[in-house]
Amino acid sequence: MNKRGPYYRYLNRFGWLCVAPAMVFFTCFMLYPILSSLYYVTRKWRGATDSFVGLGNFVRMANDRIFQQAVGHNFVYMAIQIPLMIFLALILAVILNQGIGRLRGVFRTVFFLPCVTSLVACAVLFKILLQTNGLLNNLLISGLILKEPISWLGTPFWANVAIILAMTWRWTGYNMVFFLVGLQNIDTEIYEAAEVDGATKRLQFFKITMPLLVPVILFSAVTSTSGTMQLFDEPNILTTQGGPANATMTASLYIYRQAFVINSDFGYATAMSYVVVLIAGVFAYAQMRLLGNKERKL
């Protein structure tokens, strides 16, 4: 081994040949854009013209209430939607794992299906369902639950509820599949022992199932967090460009609007992207640390 020298593995020509295509694509489509974005951050753009502003884009961001509120909306969705979705996914997974016998495969598919359909199609569908004279309002009124229709997409509160509904509908089944796999890895002997000791089903869920699934739950939380930071299609289509009155504007949507829709200001959009990446990175790091600790405890 020593004859070949310590750097021998770096000189393997066949190895280089194998990774060359990937390296080329990575350089063109990842490295170059990231490096050039460092330049864009210092520019103010207006269409085909741009000028140097230094850190001006960050100063602007510090004064831009719409951007700050947009990031705030991302946090709200994170704080409400992710726990709600994970809890629902967990319950569904447990029910599918224990309760339903023969139809398990059918239900699993039904719950998983939303996340393979197109995001745009989902958003358009929800938009039709949630119209003032849409199906949901009509059902609620004929079921005597409501007297007056709810303006789902026209009032800030209900528009946010609509976004959370749409996201939950789409991603619950996806996370449920992870939990199902996790559940199948839990030894049934543990439950049998608990039953012998007189633990109820509820107690078993909270004292055995939940703790043993913590690594899977954390995995779901981490992926969902980064997904929520990038939330775009639902507020763009379902609530029409972050409406009503910017109540559902998210960071990604505002970035897109600054770049492509209202100002052609790619410099400012790039600067905001850096901040969003930073925030997502901090969250991911925190959750990874948490995940690492828990795994050691188990």
Binding site: R46, G47, A48, T49, R60, N63, D64, R65, I66, K127, I128, Q131, T132, N133, S151, L153, G154, T155, P156, T239, T240, Q241, G243, P244, A245, N246, Q258, A259, F260, V261, I262, N263, S264, F266, Y268
Partner: protein, 427 residues
């Protein structure tokens, strides 16, 4: 062996380039409405194809908002993937031409006589000595009412076929609402149309002559006051997004709406409503100097992309159809007027027979085209500026919050709109 490979690669490269080099007789157009501008463009192509049999037009349907983003992306990418011609909303013209000064073809230099087009349309697309587009349609507005609901409320539709003030319209709305339960006006929460129509009907502006935001005016305040009254009285059927708004109209959720002539195609797309619609003059803002019973909304124009694959053919096509005074071209303008409500702004075309024609789709066979054309004559031009789009979003957002009581007064609503405008534009 190596040389052999090199030759093969070179051949592949050449073969890949050949179709790109070969001249094509096809012009690509992007626009958004099959019942309106796509239909009109296809009619124009038929006119040109008479004298140019090998001419081919490829109309791609892309929603209006997405056209803007696709054009922006294409221009940023140095002209990649752009069409030859695309349809641009008039309020976006100044922004587009300012942001991308080299993106579009100067059609005046290409020999088109713009004295034959309505001056208010040519203004926003003029930069220096150049004119960078071909005007398409006008957006003369009216108050669209359902005669059948008026009858159901025990009213005679004929007695409302007159110029009204907003307080008369509100009174009418209250009767219709009380008797039939239908709100009078279908209102789109995230649209600027209604407010714009009101402000322009009184000759108001949203910007001063230097292009600075100027929305703290009597006209804007009065318009917001009336809108809020209508909202509080339940005279609006509110919806979000263009699609939901159109479906609320064609699903009979409201007894009318306030918008322009180009809605003809949309209301006609529900044949069951034949004989039920009538159009009356835009309501007048009382107590405002310069108030009138006419306004304008929408309107768009054709731009030729400087980096389009077939721009020379595209220019010749526009010259031979939209900007031509030949009998065929004038007949084409006449066809699209009744065919879809596209009222052209090519002045020689405005003597066509359909300008006075009755339309059996409307209540009492109303001669709607004649009415819309008559109202159009006195509408003052609106100043768009490059920041119109930001202004309108800021203003309709503030309007909605004012409706819902989250903003208490009109002054605060205007302040909120000014703040959002400043933050978004940041200049």
């Amino acid at each position: 062996m190596k040389r052999g490979l090199a030759i093969v690669f070179a051949l592949i490269l050449v073969l890949a380039l050949v179709p790109g080099l070969a001249a094509q007789k096809k012009v690509t157009v992007w626009c958004w409405d099959p019942a309106f501008n796509i239909y009109s463009m296809k009619q124009a192509a038929a006119v040109y194809a008479k004298s140019h049999p090998d001419f081919q037009l490829d109309v791609v349907e892309i929603p209006d908002a997405e056209i803007t983003t696709k054009i922006t992306a294409g221009l940023q990418a140095g002209g990649q993937g752009l069409p030859d011609i695309y349809l641009c909303q008039d309020f976006r013209l100044e922004q587009t031409l300012q942001d991308y000064p080299k993106g579009f073809v100067d059609l005046k230099a290409a020999g088109i006589d713009f004295a034959k087009f309505a001056a208010y349309k040519v203004g926003p697309m003029t930069v220096g000595k150049g004119v960078y587009g071909i005007p398409f349609d006008t957006g003369s507005t009216g108050l669209w009412l359902r005669a059948d609901y008026l009858k159901a409320a025990g009213l005679k539709p004929e007695s409302y076929q007159k110029a009204m003030t907003w307080s008369e319209v509100m009174k009418l709305g209250e009767i219709v609402k009380a008797k039939t339960g239908k709100p009078l006006i279908a209102y789109e929460n995230d649209s600027f149309d209604t407010l714009r129509i009101m402000v322009q009907s009184a000759g108001g502006q949203f910007f001063d002559d230097k292009g600075n935001l100027a929305i703290r005016t009597d006209v804007v305040k009065k318009s917001l006051e009336i809108l809020k009254q209508c909202y509080d009285k339940g005279l609006f059927y509110t919806s979000e997004g263009w699609g939901n708004w159109v479906s609320s109209i064609n699903n009979d959720q409201a007894a009318g709406f306030l918008n322009a002539i180009w809605m003809i195609g949309t209301v006609k797309s529900k044949p069951e409503n034949k004989g039920k619609w009538m159009v009356v003059p835009t309501p007048k803002l009382e107590g405002i100097k310069g108030a009138s019973n006419a306004s304008n909304n929408g309107g768009s124009s054709w731009l030729v992309c400087a980096q389009g694959p077939n721009k020379d053919l595209a220019i010749d096509f526009l010259k031979g159809s939209w900007a031509s005074s030949s009998p065929d071209a004038l007949e084409f303008y006449n066809t699209i007027l009744k065919g879809c409500g596209a009222m052209g702004t090519f002045l020689p075309s405005q003597k066509g027979s359909n300008y006075t024609a009755k339309d059996e789709f409307f209540y009492g066979n109303q001669a709607v085209y004649k009415d819309f054309a008559a109202w159009m004559a006195n509408v003052p031009a609106l100043r768009y500026t490059p920041n119109y789009q930001t202004m309108r979003t800021a203003l309709f957002n503030a309007t909605l919050l004012y409706f819902q009581g989250k903003i208490k007064t009109i002054d605060e609503a205007i302040t909120a709109a000014e703040n959002e405008y400043k933050q978004t534009v940041s200049q």
